[in-house]
Symmetry: C3
Subunit: 349 residues, 3 copies
Amino acid sequence: MDFFTDIATTILSQMQKPTLAFLLGGMMLAALGSRLEVPQPVYKFVVMVLLLKVGLSAGIAIRSADLATLVVPALLAAAAGVAIVLLGGATLARWRGVAPMDGMATAGVFGAVSASTLAAAMAMLDAENISYEGFIGALYPFMDVAALVTAILLARLSAARSATTSGGTVTVGGGGSGGMSGAGGMARDILVDTLRSPAISALLLGIAIGVLGRPESVYQSFYEPLFRGLLSILMLVMGMEAWARLSELRKVAHAYVLYGLTAPLIHGLIGFGAGLIAHQLTGFSGGGVVLLAVMAASSSDISGPPTMRAALPEANSASYVGASTGLGTPVAILSIPLWIALVERTIGL
Amino acid sequence: MDFFTDIATTILSQMQKPTLAFLLGGMMLAALGSRLEVPQPVYKFVVMVLLLKVGLSAGIAIRSADLATLVVPALLAAAAGVAIVLLGGATLARWRGVAPMDGMATAGVFGAVSASTLAAAMAMLDAENISYEGFIGALYPFMDVAALVTAILLARLSAARSATTSGGTVTVGGGGSGGMSGAGGMARDILVDTLRSPAISALLLGIAIGVLGRPESVYQSFYEPLFRGLLSILMLVMGMEAWARLSELRKVAHAYVLYGLTAPLIHGLIGFGAGLIAHQLTGFSGGGVVLLAVMAASSSDISGPPTMRAALPEANSASYVGASTGLGTPVAILSIPLWIALVERTIGL
Amino acid sequence: MDFFTDIATTILSQMQKPTLAFLLGGMMLAALGSRLEVPQPVYKFVVMVLLLKVGLSAGIAIRSADLATLVVPALLAAAAGVAIVLLGGATLARWRGVAPMDGMATAGVFGAVSASTLAAAMAMLDAENISYEGFIGALYPFMDVAALVTAILLARLSAARSATTSGGTVTVGGGGSGGMSGAGGMARDILVDTLRSPAISALLLGIAIGVLGRPESVYQSFYEPLFRGLLSILMLVMGMEAWARLSELRKVAHAYVLYGLTAPLIHGLIGFGAGLIAHQLTGFSGGGVVLLAVMAASSSDISGPPTMRAALPEANSASYVGASTGLGTPVAILSIPLWIALVERTIGL
């Protein structure tokens, strides 16, 4: 009982912290019909600067890191991404009233990672002076790409199977790989397309400059100081967006509401488990375990939906966008204090 | 004589301060035909961050404020807003050649508050180390909403009266309140619409997060340090805008030019008077009196015009936009040093 | 031999510095087909803030500068601008397969100055604690305007001459100077048009506020601290842009490729020579000589192309935009370490 009271207290005090306060504020504004908006170009720029910051700090950390300590969490992150998608394929995609294609697309988006949620978790750990591996940002693409590729491959394979049965034809997304068709070519197309997405590009650019260059001066004079403030703007946008997208869920099966509300917590536990293994094998820090759980709990709000739209044009975007942006993302962000409290009570922080 | 020389010296030295220098620079650029422009999305974002900052600091101050000291200035601010509109209704709206509807709309915009002008005044007081009540930002909506609601109600009532006489029909703006018509329903519609405007929304969001959350860390690392710089950008835009809008005044009666030039000074005196009463009753600070005078002197450049356009579609927007943005706002900003000097010579700073 | 090894080492270590690292990163992103982009309105704002910063610091420096020390480098900067255009007119514009009009336009753009390149060089000198005259930013317009006016005048005169011979007609750009035609009126039109361009306007506004106002507080709290970070964003954009524009060069004569690759180095030597003269005459600093060489090496990416398009509509913009943005600008930025090394080895830093 004491355990849960402690967790509840931690969560409540976190709600007042800037990150969650701005998220809730954005939801409230949208609910009250405010006409306040963050212009699209500014929003894109804010996201880019945040991702460059996360990438730069990861790159700078990788430069002086022992590569072995990086490889284990990276593989576990990828495994968690695949596991989340397989779980979604075995549950949501088989639900009555849910089209298998829509279910797989949603599972993929929930398996992918939200850079904003990750950034929010980092800001919260920083505020509490909880340390974590500097290279954490570099784990993001492993989980993200693994989940997206798995989901799209499974959706395509099942569609191809039912098409063979019914005699229909299937268009393969990613386009123009010509002779190199099949699962291998398709996976490669998805991989390339995902790496070229703005979110992953910005992150990888930051990592590359951090590893190969010496960006410390600009990192400390610009990217680091602006991080919290720009994150508060991003949370505002995500809160407004989440509220606006909730209505889209009315158009699809109720299964998505249930999935959007519970999946982040179950996925977070998968990430927490992966983090515990890394903790045993390589001494991965408690803060790192929190961030791995948050990555797994989060669903991709920036790069996921456009990737799905391009690769699985037959899937109904109202399902995965509504479930992830409307429910999955706010639930994931609001659950961050839960993972902090859970790690604190188990392996310590 | 010495009194006026002192005031003149203060005003001149203020012209060199960043705030006024950028305003004058913007006017000069526009006058010389420069093609420099601050893109609209960036401008909106700059305004939003400035208003969030003003709101956050007000909210943080309210959290530890004695509510009684807040109530008196708030009521006086609302009273000043109403008084300014009534004065405009008795002068400008009855002028020969001025349509009563246009005159009331202009009086409403001049009674409403310019957040940018308020921010400029705060920056000037900060630069001189003159202290003022932290909750001042929370007074803004009281004066703003009181003035807009009064002006729209009076304009609608007078239009309804002349329509009854002439047998015409009047469309009621704000739309869709159905059965709950009449002055009460109309006032409620205007109030809701004004509170949903981007400017007031941002301000109230900042106040809410400041009161209910603990945003101090992000306030000190982002909103506070960027305030002066973003204000200099805003002043640049307002200077260019003021010059561009001056030409619109040629299309309307000369009364608007006279009103735009003199009203800010008379309204500032009304605000100064309200501030003196608050000073007597609750020990309201000299800096607070300056800011109340500036609020009263200012005219709404962001939220006012769109509110008027929605509520009084029959009014000629060239009149109120030209008079407020072209003349009222620059005169109000340039008069800030006057209020500083006036308070310094009377109750002291 | 040792001399060249030293220069090579300096250049290589500069590649890791933030400025060049972000430029190379942007080129790499574009080469790999990333969909990352900096939205246009944000890009415009970033450029404006950088130019205001350069202008403000120049203006603040001019306020306390001995005007004589400013006049000599200013005249030498203008002379370098004219010399670069005359050189281009004698080489590129007479090349076989190059239209004289296109060649002159390209020479003009290469004679004009890139504010971004200048800002990058300043950031590099700051990072190495190499001092330079504060008023350097004020030299920019002298070289820029001198080069653009010379190029447009020469192009117009040669077109008028061939038109007289062939009996055709020529439209004079800049428009509407009516009776005041001829070279004098044309030069005045170009001058006014150039001064009204966003880049030069922002720079001159900063200088004016720096000289006439007291913007030190906002300069130190906003423009100075954000400079490096915004520059890294700008370099990213310029890298992506450079890669994208390289393809345009395929459409025009190969002469442009040769010119784009070699001209920045030759022009830099011209600027270096002008700097040496100023060093002898007025004790102009080594850092100042570096910046004069960089200005001369750079080609105008912001204000030049639109000026040319307006003044010489007959010229093929693929030639000057491709040669300057695709080759000239990256070569100029990458050559900054060369000028630092060269000055270090000659007059010292």
